[in-house]
Amino acid sequence: MTQTLLQVKDLKTHFFLEDGVVPAVDGVSFHLNRGETLAVVGESGSGKSITATSIMRLIPNPPGRIVGGEILFNGEDLLKKTEKEMRAIRGNRISMIFQEPMTSLNPVFRVGHQIAESLMVHQGLNKQEALEKSIEMLRLTGIPSPEKRAHDFPHQMSGGMRQRVMIAMALCCRPELLIADEPTTALDVTIQAQILDLMLELKEQLGTAIIMITHDLAVVAEVADRAVVMYCGKLVEEAPVLELFDNPLHPYTRGLLKSIPHINDNQERLYMIEGMVPALTNLPPGCSFAPRCPEARPRCHVERPSLKEVSPGRRVSCWLHEGGVR
């Protein structure tokens, strides 16, 4: 068995709209080892969710389409799989949790049944066995009296509870990879911590690798081994988490780090990166971040930098670091 679980190579997912092509993901490459947690960070609209949805092959088509690249999962290219082969993978070997626990569960089915469905499809269990196993999964996620709660409808549960149900659903077939797309963003702060702890605990128990999508760098510091930073559909930096926090290389990453609120901060207002994210249909010819970059040089505005390895395990896409780490 190889170390590498997932290798995304030059992934391109574009949306073909009437007023132009939106390159939501444009040449993204990264990898993920078995049992590892990789954080994907970036501002809203940077293409994090589309990257994740591309791995699941669930891009709404039309208007979206994966137009290039490879997604090697255990060495096999998911983009070459038939729809039937993909269905056997989804929810079984790769699962996904979404940002909106309030709307991600089907309102007309009992939660136990919604978990059981996955088990019936992938593990061939009958209804009774699947329901028993889903109660077991609910217990694992720390829901009190799961045999009763399994018969609840989603509207009878709080957001935190529903996210636990989503986690139970995602992990019930013991997937090798769990993609969590901002799993805690919609929850209260105290519940957020509980859900993150739960995910980490289950990850240890089940040995699942996680791609944690977030725009909250505090979450990254807490849960991830490595992180990739996305901006306008591209990776701008990749680093082990500790190094990323100690020595961020890309000015965009520095901006993101500066905007984390600190408890012992007397700053009046939170730091914000200046300017607006440019429209994907109308990106500047040089570095996409150049118009907002405090350190931009003339070259940055005309020539697009590419992602270069600057030290083992660290890559950055910025002209400031052409000759290695400064």
Partner: protein, 334 residues
């Protein structure tokens, strides 16, 4: 839930009271002399006076209404002026024919309408979608009697495939058990009667169904398009469920909630349409009977018929509401 049903049933009482009052007032306030009108212009003054006496039109209005109410509570709507038989009996013998026609039309409208709506939504902007939505537009804009006549001309007169009118070939009536010919002929194994009843039923049922079918198809399409975009559909797909399960279980089950309301409302327009359809196809049901009664000035029949149709409408609505609660677990009835 049971409590809710009982409550709704109790609510039927004031509703039906209101309907009776309305029907009573229309007759007595808007016609100067009901007795004269019933008898027509050739009646003598003595005949009119005698009828007035017979029907109690000499008494004060509130007394008349009291008598009227106490009679209908006992299921007594008086006697038909045309046939001299009790109105209740006349209506009840024609009732199964109307129900058979309405149920057949509703089944066609629902099954075909929902199916077309789902396929149109899943294959949005396909040829099928365009054709069926054009069809739906035609369906809502074509008057029933016109469509009925066209169907008769095409399938009965020109092609000769189906009978022109009536409910079954003369003398073929199956042994009466439920009084629904299709059911009775099946129950008694009377294959010939079944074929005859079915061939008579098809055209009027299709004509009656067309409007509701179009509305249901449109509504299903638009709610399905709405539902398909929801997060929980994405969740269902991410579980690795087959597309057919995603569409017909996860999506349709949610889309059916608003569609059920529309189906319930369509029952109302279906009852109205039944009157026209029965007239066009000479279908021996309540609708054509009421139309004849109106033309003949047979007021007891009109009163009884309207109250009966209104009662059916109210009860059907109750059933739809209960079905709604079953489909949508978020709704709590108390």
């Amino acid at each position: 839930m049971l409590k809710y049903i009982v409550k709704r049933l109790l609510l039927l009482i004031p509703v039906l009271f209101g309907i009776s009052l309305f029907v009573f007032l229309v007759l007595h306030l808007f016609t100067a002399d009901p007795a004269a009108m019933m008898l027509g212009q050739h009646a003598t003054a003595e005949q009119v006076a005698a009828l007035r006496e017979e029907l109690g039109f000499n008494k004060p209005l509130y007394v008349q209404f009291g008598i009227f109410l106490s009679q209908i509570v006992q299921g007594d709507f008086g006697r038909s002026l045309m046939t001299r038989a009790p109105v209740t009996d006349e209506l009840l013998t024609r009732f199964p024919a109307t129900v058979e026609l309405a149920v057949a039309a509703m089944l066609i409208a629902t099954v075909v309408g929902v199916t077309i709506g789902v396929i149109s939504a899943v294959k949005q902007y396909s040829i099928f979608d365009y054709l069926s939505m054009v069809g739906a537009l035609l369906g809502v804009s074509m008057p029933i009697f016109w469509l009925g006549l066209m169907l008769i001309i095409l399938f009965s007169v020109t092609l000769g495939w189906l009978p022109v009118s009536g409910r079954i070939a003369v003398g073929m009536e199956p042994t009466a058990i439920t009084h629904f010919y299709l059911l009775d002929s099946l129950l008694t194994g009377n294959w010939e009667a079944f074929k005859s009843a079915l061939s008579h039923l098809i055209l009027p049922a299709v004509a009656l169904a067309s409007y509701s079918m179009a509305i249901i198809a449109r509504m299903t399409r638009s709610t399905m398009l709405e539902v398909i975009r929801q997060d929980y559909i994405r969740t269902a797909r991410s579980k690795g469920l087959a597309e057919s399960v995603v569409v017909f279980k996860h999506a349709l089950r949610n889309a059916l909630i608003p569609v059920t309301t529309v189906i319930g409302l369509q029952m109302g327009s279906l009852l109205g349409g039944a009157v026209l359809t029965e007239t066009v196809f000479s279908w021996p049901g309540i609708g054509s009977f009421i139309v004849n009664a109106i033309l003949a000035g047979d007021f007891p029949v009109v009163q009884g018929g309207v109250i009966m149709v209104a009662t059916i409408f109210v009860v059907v609505n109750l059933i739809v509401d209960i079905l709604y609660a079953y489909l949508d677990p978020r709704i709590k009835y108390s």
